[in-house]
């Protein structure tokens, strides 16, 4: 038995022992009113796959694939513990095949009181906005970079929060090589000054962090730094509807596969430092608001293993400053931050035409105007005589090649007690080479799309509704490396609020190849009862990028029957 497995099973045993101590409710209610609970949740997704060469759905040897997990959390007073079991037999299409088999992938124990909060086991933590450190879990994307180790949080004085942690990050069914260590301090100035600041409406919060990783250097050719440090600071100023948040992070030189560049077929690590800045400012009053966001990222892929790629072993989080769409067509080509280098920004205005005005009508009307864009950095090469690394500098006043833009307008209006609708128009620019393939030489053309969405809901009696959604995505229909234009129609019927039946047709009418002008039909149905939900779908799904919470993954085309069950207790 390996040490890690012994540790896992002993933690599990201790956990089971602890919950077996949980007294019956009847007794606890007499004794005290403190928290004493066990809760959890499950999710099971399974799909039966048919091969479909026309849409590019591959033959799946297992025929059926499934992903499943269950969490159990126990809390008694100031103590809590929990664990998660995950099973992939085998992992569904579109996920990393290294999720193979099953086991306990998360377990923790925690004690919290007013002064101290100590956790051992798998930890989810975020320093500031996450530019320097964020460990996070998103089951829909199989994203989990939890830190397996120890964390201590302390509030030594009102308004002051100190955090320290050390551990290794989850990597599939094991942990990554590198050790991650970090400290963070945050001060809420108003709370410290207390009585003095009670009448001051402007709130100021400042914070600072230091995070370092250690990974042994076994490379025969390169002299690689074994310790890489990063430090950063942040400021948050809030007053009524005004909110400013700014964060800056600097990372020492961190040669890695993620920042390497390929010159004449050879990979060269970059020894350049990294930096990232993010700001968000908003101003809001009843019925109207403005927001701007800006970001600059330079060589800021920060991972606890210098050989890790894709979504694996990321220590930090670089939020995209573009809008995350939920409708199918505007979300067709989503943007993700380019950690090698990017300058981006977004501006948004929202306005509500009040009830009883000319445009607002009887129920009011919401309008959103949004513009976002992202460009590369203007890179100035520096001659490097050693030829072991690539060197460059950048200047702050200039930007490079365009990566993305999205300009859209969205209108939401309720016409009567029974009818409401959404209308959206978007214009998007997508640099497929960079955003999807990470290289300017991937050979694709830039894609410009015009998108229209109409979404109408007709509530024909209380608790019963029919929803129609029509979407159009207009693109260059002669670009043979892309699929051209799409039209999509959806009818969704909810006879009672806990049942839905829907039919979706996505029609690739603009495909440059005549025989590939296909309809992708998908029929789905679902039933919800309280915290339990089951849904089925049958039909064709196109290949695409699926994003939740700012992380994206590629989903291949598929044809078959899928079932999903979620439940919490």
């Amino acid at each position: 038995m390996t040490l890690s497995r012994f540790f896992k099973s002993s933690v599990t045993a201790a956990f089971l022992f602890l919950i077996s101590l949980k007294p019956f409710k009847g007794f606890t209610q007499n004794v005290s009113d403190e928290i004493n609970s066990i809760h959890g949740n499950f999710q099971i997704d399974a799909q039966y796959y048919n091969a479909d060469s026309l849409i590019g759905a591959p033959k799946v040897p297992e025929k059926m694939l499934s992903n499943a997990f269950g969490n159990i959390n126990y809390q008694k007073g100031k103590f809590s513990a929990g664990m998660r079991y995950e099973a992939y037999n085998n992992v569904m299409q579109g996920f990393d095949a290294r999720y193979k088999g099953q086991g306990i992938t998360n377990r923790y124990a925690r004690y919290q009181d007013k002064l101290l909060d100590i956790t051992i086991g798998n930890i989810y933590e975020q320093f500031g906005g996450g530019l320097i450190l964020r460990t996070y879990y998103e089951p829909g994307l199989l994203y989990d970079n939890s830190l397996d180790g120890i964390r201590v949080i302390s509030n030594p004085y009102k308004g002051i929060t100190l955090k320290g942690l050390v551990g290794k990050q989850r990597s599939f069914f094991t942990v990554g090589q590198g050790i991650v260590r970090g400290v963070d301090g945050e001060v809420n100035i108003n709370e410290i000054l207390d009585s003095l600041a009670k009448n001051i409406k402007t709130k100021v919060i400042v914070g600072g962090s230091f995070v370092s990783k250690f990974q042994i250097d076994e490379d025969p050719h390169f002299n690689l730094p074994q310790n890489v440090g990063a430090y950063g600071g942040r400021l948050n100023v809030i007053r009524d509807g005004f909110n400013f948040f700014g964060e800056y992070v600097y990372k020492e030189n961190d040669p890695s596969v993620a920042n390497a560049s390929s010159v004449e077929g050879k990979n060269y690590y970059s020894y350049r430092h990294g930096e990232a800045a993010f700001m968000s400012m908003s101003l809001a009053a009843k019925g109207i608001s403005f927001m701007i966001q800006g970001k600059r990222v330079d060589n800021m892929s920060f991972r606890s293993d210098r050989d890790a790629t894709l979504q694996n072993l990321l220590i930090n989080y670089l939020p995209a400053t573009t809008r995350q769409h939920t409708y199918l067509m505007p979300a067709y080509s989503p943007y993700a931050t380019q950690p090698k280098g990017e300058v981006g920004g977004m501006a948004e205005m929202q306005y509500k035409f009040a009830k009883g005005t000319l445009l607002g009508g009887k129920y009011g009307m919401d309008i959103t105007l949004n513009a976002s864009m992202a460009n590369g950095l203007k890179v100035i090469g520096v001659n490097d005589s050693s030829s072991y690394s690539t060197l460059y500098t950048t200047n702050y006043s200039d930007v490079g090649e365009q990566y993305y833009h999205d300009y859209f307008i969205e209108i939401n209006r309720k016409f009567s007690k029974k009818i409401k609708g959404t209308l959206m128009y978007a214009n998007q620019f997508y640099n497929k080479n960079i955003v999807q393939y990470g290289s300017p030489n991937a050979g694709y053309k830039n894609i410009v799309s015009n998108i229209i969405v109409v979404d109408l809901t007709y509530k024909y009696k209380p608790g019963s509704a029919i929803r129609f959604e029509t979407q159009w995505l207009g693109r260059d229909n002669k670009d043979t490396l892309n699929l051209g234009s799409w039209a999509s129609e959806l009818i969704e019927w909810t006879p009672t609020s806990n049942i839905f039946v829907a039919v979706l047709d996505q029609y690739n009418y603009g495909n440059p190849v005549e025989s590939l002008k296909l309809h992708y039909f998908l029929v789905s149905a679902g039933y919800t009862s309280g915290p339990h939900r089951i849904s089925f779908s049958y039909g064709k799904q196109r290949a695409g990028i699926f994003c939740v919470g700012g992380v994206c993954r590629n989903v291949p085309a598929s044809n078959g029957l899928a079932v999903s069950i979620t439940s919490s207790f």
Binding site: M1, Q75, A284, F500, T528
Partner: protein, 171 residues
């Protein structure tokens, strides 16, 4: 070994099911108020009246539909039953700046908190948003519902009224 662990796990879950579930207090997690101060979720209270806790995100269309639908009658709801709605945004740094703009523009009168790294979401075992909980006057979670369809807000309010009268709640 793995099989043994798993069977133990399953056994535990099923043996506990008999007395786990509804009726427990709100678990402890730190969430942020819109003024930046931190609040522990186990201090949520409404002077002995029920609380609705609704998990949402600025990028979640059904969540906003639900909160909009409730907002239309929220004044009546609070007047008739004293119920309070606590809206928990799970937006991360990418969109947490948008929470205040959405809330103000829409004119929502809810108590709003940001659960930026989803500690509270995990403690409440929420799989995906929207997810709505009903908490009784003693601070105990008595009902929950995942997802939103037209008309769910009416069912929710029926349950708030039943809760006050001490009647059995329905899903």
């Amino acid at each position: 070994m793995k099989n043994l662990t798993f069977s133990l796990l399953l056994l535990t879950v099923f043996s506990l099911n008999s007395f786990a579930g509804d009726g427990d207090k709100i678990p402890a997690a730190t969430v942020k108020k819109l003024d930046g101060s931190k609040v522990n979720s186990n201090t949520f209270s409404n002077n002995g009246k029920p609380i609705i806790i609704s998990f949402w995100a600025t990028w979640c269309k059904p969540c906003k539909k639900e909160l909009d639908a409730i907002a239309e009658n929220y004044g009546e709801w609070t007047k008739e039953t004293g119920v309070k709605l606590i809206a928990i945004s799970i937006d991360d740094a990418r969109s947490s700046g948008k929470v205040v703009t959405d809330v103000k523009t829409k004119g929502w009168e809810y108590e709003v908190y940001i659960d930026e790294n989803q500690d509270f979401k995990r403690a409440m075992n929420v799989n995906n948003v929207p997810h709505t909980f009903l908490v009784d006057g003693l601070g105990k979670i008595v009902w929950s519902h995942n997802s939103y369809s037209e008309g769910d807000e009416d069912k929710l309010y029926e349950n708030v009224k039943k809760l006050i009268k001490g009647e059995k709640l329905e899903h």
